[in-house]
């Protein structure tokens, strides 16, 4: 994949597509252009048959310290309405392939919201998360109040959003915000080990599992189960289902093709 982005860098390694936030001098402060580049890169990987897993991380000292304050300090409500910048964030939720976020240093404000858009999150042991927006007289606007609350419930979400307090990796792990922590030196190595394992799983299974799990967040259990059932049936039209079950009976490793 060609790399013609200004604020991010993309690379591929086997079936893994990586997006790195690349404004290290400003701790990868998120601006609207960076977000639209992330979305563009994600959609590119989503369509690329060679890619099975997407990894999102930050270059330099941190994942990202937050949104670019200069960009919006003087904006009016109408400016923001007409700019409609969050529409790009909505497209992130439509990515079908699994997204793994690897967070080191900080993921604050908009960067925490970006991390919450990932399907799985790994973090360095000394990483910190948080929503400091309240300290600037604003609040999260790209899903922070919604996604955090869905993840941890009202009690802790309220506390963290009201106070702007930093959430340590340990707390984040405890509350189920992240999947696992690693020594900071090994975060990326371990993330790639996991990504490589994930890339070996049957891609259509992963795709439909992701779609079904996300349904559970917004829909009633009845609707969710109807949806799950349809996806379960749908998998029986894939070659990978035939191969997987055949390999199981023949006591050998399956070879999944993503078809």
């Amino acid at each position: 994949m060609s790399n013609s982005f200004e604020f991010i860098e993309t690379t591929t390694q086997g079936a893994i597509g990586t997006i790195e936030l690349n404004r290290p001098k400003v701790l990868n402060a998120l601006n609207t252009k960076m977000i639209s580049e992330i979305v563009q890169a994600m959609e590119g990987f989503d369509k690329d048959d060679n890619i099975r897993v997407i990894v999102l991380s930050g270059k330099g000292r941190a994942f990202a310290a937050g949104a670019d304050i200069d960009e919006m300090a003087n904006a009016s409500a109408m400016d923001l309405e007409l700019l409609n910048q969050f529409v790009d964030w909505d497209r992130l939720a439509l990515i079908k392939k699994p997204i793994i976020g690897a967070v080191h240093g900080f993921a604050l404000g908009g960067a925490f919201e970006l991390a919450l858009c990932c399907d799985l999150l790994f973090a360095a042991e000394d990483a910190e998360f948080g929503f400091p927006e309240v300290n600037l007289g604003v609040m999260p606007g790209a899903g922070g109040t919604q996604r955090l609350t869905k993840l941890v419930g009202k009690t802790k979400a309220m506390e963290w959003l009201f106070t702007g307090k930093r959430i340590t990796a340990k707390e984040a792990l405890h509350y189920g915000i992240i999947n696992q922590t690693f020594s900071k030196e090994l975060l990326f190595e371990e993330t790639y080990k996991f990504a490589e394992q994930l890339a070996k799983q049957a891609p259509i299974s992963i795709r439909l599992i992701k779609e079904s799990v996300l349904k559970a967040i917004d829909h009633s259990i009845y609707e969710g189960m109807q949806f799950e059932r349809k996806n379960f049936y749908l998998l029986f039209s894939s070659e990978d289902q035939k191969e997987g079950m055949k390999a199981f009976i023949e006591k050998r490793q399956p070879q999944f093709k993503g078809k």
């Binding site: 690693f182 020594s183 030196e185 090994l186 190595e189």
Partner: protein, 257 residues
């Protein structure tokens, strides 16, 4: 750079000297802050591979300056704002830290010494859990570190009775690594620190990290820590140099990388 701390880097060792000798190096808000910043400097400075914390004059540190204590003082806030950030900075530092206890280490001064990795004691040194004598509780991590160093029973004895522990007694308790005579004090402290500063720095940091974790880990989680620690150490130049030197039957030259 600092007013109440002397900071000097010599032969890869950062010497942080508490410098209020006329007050027996008692802590003030400024001293807490400057010790914290000095440790941060040493942690970040890649040329530094070991730290020595010591006191100017006849005391190591006599603890909180009681001249500043009054009825309106919120002791909890004093710890949260002044002492805890200093001790956390010390705890975060992955380089070896030596408390060179040149004289009395009392109260929070003792807490500072306990938070270090090694304690070298001058013959004239002593340790005093002075808190109880003013109706207070050992703080700044003191009661966390003390039982880990000398066991629960002895820790309780020292904290409750508040008796002075001489350098020789401290050595018997396992509280200090070595007692050094006054005549050779500075040289021996430097020798010890410089020896640490030529060792595999990253491996020392990982030993510190894993030992600390061992106190609050499940065994199987800890074994995973072992694996991660050894993977990191296995990637260092110092590991490669150590193996090469062994094969070539020569002394290794470690760079801390």
């Amino acid at each position: 750079m600092f007013e109440t701390v002397l900071y000097e880097v010599r032969n890869s060792v950062a010497y942080i000297t508490l410098n209020r000798p006329d007050k027996l190096n008692a802590f003030t808000e400024q001293l807490n802050k400057e010790v914290q910043l000095a440790i941060k400097n040493a942690s970040r400075d890649e040329s530094v591979r070991a730290l020595v914390i010591t006191g100017e004059g006849r005391a190591f540190c006599s603890g909180e300056d009681l001249a500043g204590v009054n009825d309106d003082m919120d002791h909890g806030e004093v710890l949260r704002k002044r002492y805890n950030p200093m001790i956390v900075e010390l705890d975060k530092c992955e380089k070896p830290i030596i408390a060179a206890v040149n004289g009395v280490a009392a109260g929070a001064g003792m807490s500072l010494a306990l938070a270090c990795d090694f304690r070298l004691a001058s013959e004239k040194a002593s340790f005093v859990e002075a808190f109880i004598h003013v109706g207070l509780v050992p703080d700044a991590g003191n009661l966390y570190h003390l039982p880990r160093l000398i066991g629960h029973a002895k820790a309780l004895e020292l904290a409750v009775l508040g008796e002075k522990v001489t350098a020789a007694e401290a050595k018997d308790l396992g509280l200090v690594t070595k007692v050094i005579s006054v005549d050779t004090w500075s040289e021996e402290v430097s020798q010890f620190a410089e020896r640490l500063a030529t060792m595999p720095t990253k491996a020392i940091g990982l030993i510190k990290r894993n030992l600390k974790t061992s106190w609050h880990s499940e065994f199987e989680d800890f074994l995973e820590r072992d694996a991660q620690g050894q993977r990191i150490a296995g990637l260092t130049d110092d590991h490669k140099e150590g193996v090469r030197a062994f094969m070539e039957k020569r002394r290794p030259v470690f760079t801390g990388k």
